[in-house]
């Protein structure tokens, strides 16, 4: 009781502290801005972008680079450990794998309103059934929890789910909070806009356009970073964020935004639901989807990696053909994950 109160009050002071720091930063910014500008006028304009870039890179984890983040995982193993034992120890109706999924991603994880049962289906869901089959011996021993994009990491950290299989990109930022399996899908950020739009891709045509992203998505992080570094025109308005990428399609159709940025795989499934919108330009990043699990659940990560080894050989292609070939094309080459490397050893 006392401890909790202490913690609460500390948290309160943390908030005050954060506010104070924020105020100080804002003040410093306001005071220093004229200085940097006047210096810029003094003929050092080209140096302005420098500090931003320099401060950008050390923020990443020491031993992680985003281009190799997908390899930051443990080598496959079929052995049980404490995490898997705990899952197997569940009895009766509770003997299920609890998985965070999406129910809004067409062909990835969604509920077809016209099927008689209420089951979720899609590419991610197939993989979940495969994992449940392997760990608990029953593909249907799964409790699905629908999770908004921004809740994926908290849900794992709080132990509300055993894993998240939800078109989740592996990157260094997230690796600080959760553990990932080897990649099971390759994609990249793409721009989605109405066919009649003047937007041609991730370029200057986005000037003065409103862009919608999902809160807590890699798309938002990328846009935010690019706008700060000048890669994205500063006049692009990225303030519209929604709980789920599909909510962006709603905003786009209602004319509240001009474009959507999300993973190509998901953008394609949005385009499949509305023939008047299309993908604009090529993917401007390369990303890999992985199964996210609690940090420290090494046995579960190894086990999922083992399952993925088998799944890539048998199952992956069938699932792709069933769900994704219609939206992403019959050739699965661009989506196939690379041969995994397992950099984590100890």
């Amino acid at each position: 009781m006392f401890v909790r109160r202490m913690r609460a009050s500390l948290r309160g002071w943390g908030g005050v502290g954060a506010m104070a720091v924020g105020c100080a930063l804002a003040l410093a910014f306001v005071l220093l801005l004229p200085l940097t500008q006047s210096r810029g006028e003094g003929g050092q304009g080209e140096g302005l972008g420098g500090p931003g870039l320099a401060t950008g890179s050390p923020a990443k984890a020491d031993d992680c680079t985003d281009s190799r983040a997908q390899d930051e995982t443990w080598s496959p193993s079929g052995a049980d450990g404490s995490t898997i034992d705990a899952i197997k120890a569940r009895t009766g109706a509770k003997r299920k794998l609890i998985v965070g999924v999406d129910q809004n991603s067409y062909r990835w994880g969604y509920r077809n309103p016209n099927t008689s049962d209420a089951e979720l289906e899609g590419f991610d869901i197939d993989l979940v059934h495969r994992i449940a089959q392997d760990i608990l011996g029953d593909p249907d021993a799964v409790q699905f929890k629908a999770i908004p994009t921004s809740q994926r990491i908290p849900a794992i950290q709080d132990g509300r789910v055993d894993m998240v299989v939800r078109t989740m990109t592996i990157n260094c930022d997230r690796l600080k909070d959760v553990a990932f399996s080897a990649p099971y899908f390759k994609t990249g950020q793409q721009v989605l806009a109405p066919k009649s739009s003047s937007i041609t891709g991730y370029n200057g045509t986005l000037a003065h356009k409103k862009i919608c992203t999902a809160a807590g998505s890699t798309a938002y992080a990328k846009l935010d970073a690019d706008r700060k570094s000048g890669k994205l025109v500063a006049s692009a308005d990225i303030s519209t964020t929604v709980p789920n990428q599909l909510d962006c399609l709603v905003r786009l159709q209602l004319g509240e935004v001009d474009a959507v940025v999300t993973d190509g795989a998901l953008a394609a499934s949005q385009a499949a639901q509305d023939p008047t919108v299309e993908l604009k330009g090529a993917a401007f990043t390369t990303e890999y989807y992985g199964v996210a699990m609690k940090k420290g659940a090494t046995d579960l990560v190894r086990r999922v990696n083992q399952i993925l080894v088998e799944y890539r050989a048998d199952g992956w292609q069938a699932s792709y053909d069933k769900w994704l070939s219609a939206t992403l094309g019959a050739d699965s080459g661009a989506s196939k994950p690379p041969a995994p490397q397992y950099l984590r050893t100890s």
Partner: protein, 468 residues
């Protein structure tokens, strides 16, 4: 009839006053004086003679009595108008504001049930949604017609009028996409739900609060005792009594018919005023205690049950997507709200049972309490299924056709509707009684006041005529 005695009495009065003014022939040009000063002078001069005094007494009595009649008529007109407003304006408006809230919330709940049921929405659920929307639209028109321009109620109505078609458009889009099997239909439904929860229901609640405030203010305009009228009436009676006593002492005549008639009319008016208002007040207070209070409690209970149902549905739509943390414990946001709503419903029903003053009122409330108990049991079973990951079983227990919580909600709603209709009738009857007790008072008081004043003047006039 009132004037002849005064007029016939005027010449002698003027005769006594005139010499006083003409006793100053030496003054070159008498400086002009104000009419008031002149009048005071005249009055002072008049008061030195008995006819003059009588004339002053007559004037004071007449003024007192007429003032009593006028103030009574004025105060009771105000109260009767307020009572009429309670009956025909503010209470119906407050009820229809509650109906607007209920219809909107019910439409939203029905839409989410339809979504849960999948693309094949049943005819009954579609029908219910449509009738909810048209009820809300119709009641909004009434509310708009009755709200004063520029008032906050008008702003709330305007906001709702703007949002309702927007909401309906979103739900229709959700339906179309659902039929095609696209999940973007669900996204539209979420957007519609967000609009309803965050913009429309708060505006409807605002309207309800405003209309309720108006009802309360109409009540407080209708019920206070008309102290000014009562005080003036008593004063007039005292003055009349004193005039008669003076008359008796000076003339040894027991009765002056005019003054007696004036006293009688004043007493009747005063009694009518006090008794009539007390009866009206009792009726209005009753209509408030047994009508309005019950109605408010029942409306609130109905809204709580509606919210509970909405949250029950949404917990299955969201499938654990939303959580809240309370005291370090994490709960499903919709289940958490459901529990809160059910507690509010239970409290509301207990209170409604306590307020119900006859079996016709308490029976449906008791029945609703029974429904609520079953609902809670079934909900607990459905939640267990959901927490065990058997989504389909949970769904069947919530929106299924047999032994589902939907049945319980419908029964609670139907019973509360019955109870509301009963309390509404009670309110109507008592408020009508209350208003009717006041209805003749303003005109009656005015007429009696005029008659009493005439009586007083004629009584004084008779005495004056004796001096000619």
């Amino acid at each position: 009839m009132t004037h002849p005695p005064t007029k016939s009495a005027a010449p002698p009065g003027a005769g006594t006053a005139l010499p006083a003014q003409r006793t100053r022939p030496g003054a070159p040009t008498p400086s002009r004086r104000t009419a008031f000063a002149e009048g005071v002078e005249q009055l002072r001069a008049a008061a030195t003679t008995e006819p003059g005094r009588l004339r002053v007494i007559g004037a004071v009595l007449a003024v007192l009595i007429v003032a009593f009649g006028a103030v009574t008529a004025w105060q009771m007109t105000d109260r009767a108008a307020a009572a009429d407003d309670v009956l025909h304006r503010s209470q119906p408006l407050s009820s229809s504001a509650a109906d607007i809230y209920r219809s909107l919330a019910d439409a939203n709940t029905t839409a989410s049930s339809g979504f849960l049921a999948g693309g094949q929405e049943t005819a009954a659920s579609r029908q219910r949604y449509e009738s909810d929307i048209s009820t809300a639209a119709a009641k909004l028109v009434t509310a708009a017609a009755n709200s004063e321009p520029g008032s906050p109620a008008e702003a709330a109505v305007a906001k709702l009028n703007k949002l309702l078609p927007e909401y309906k458009g979103l739900v229709e889009r959700a339906r179309v996409y659902n039929r095609q099997g696209y999940p973007v239909g669900g996204a539209y439904l979420r957007y519609a739900n967000e609009k309803m929860q965050q913009e429309m229901l708060p505006a409807a609640e605002d309207l309800y609060t405003k209309e309720n405030a108006r009802l309360t203010s109409d009540y407080s305009d209708a019920t206070p005792y008309p102290w000014a009228a009562i005080a003036l009436g008593l004063l007039a009676l005292v003055a009349l009594a004193w005039a008669q006593l003076r008359h008796y002492r000076r003339t040894n005549r027991l009765l002056n018919q005019g003054l007696v008639a004036a006293s009688a009319a004043t007493v009747v008016t005063l009694l009518w005023l006090v008794v009539g208002h007390t009866v009206a007040r009792a009726g209005l207070d009753d209509s408030y205690d047994h009508g309005v209070r019950s109605l408010t409690v029942l409306h609130d209970a109905r809204i709580a049950s509606l919210k509970a149902r909405g949250n029950e549905n949404l917990s299955l739509v969201a499938r654990g997507a939303e959580t809240v943390t309370v005291d370090g414990q994490t709960y499903d946001a919709y289940y958490y709200d459901f529990d809160k709503d059910m507690t509010a419903l239970g409290k509301g029903l207990t209170e409604a049972a306590a307020l119900a003053n006859d079996t016709a009122g308490s029976k449906p409330v008791a029945a609703a309490e029974g429904n609520m108990k079953v609902w809670k049991e079934r909900h607990a079973a459905a939640r267990t299924e959901d927490e065990n990951g058997d989504y389909q079983a949970a769904l069947d227990k919530v929106i299924g056709t047999k032994d589902a919580t939907g049945e319980c909600f419908d029964s609670v709603d139907a019973n509360l509707k019955t109870a509301l209709a009963h309390e509404e009738a009670e309110f109507q009857a008592q408020a009508t009684d209350g208003r009717d007790a006041m209805s003749g008072l303003p005109i009656g008081a005015a007429m009696l006041g005029v008659a009493a004043a005439a009586g007083a003047l004629s009584g004084i006039g008779r005495r004056l005529s004796e001096y000619r």
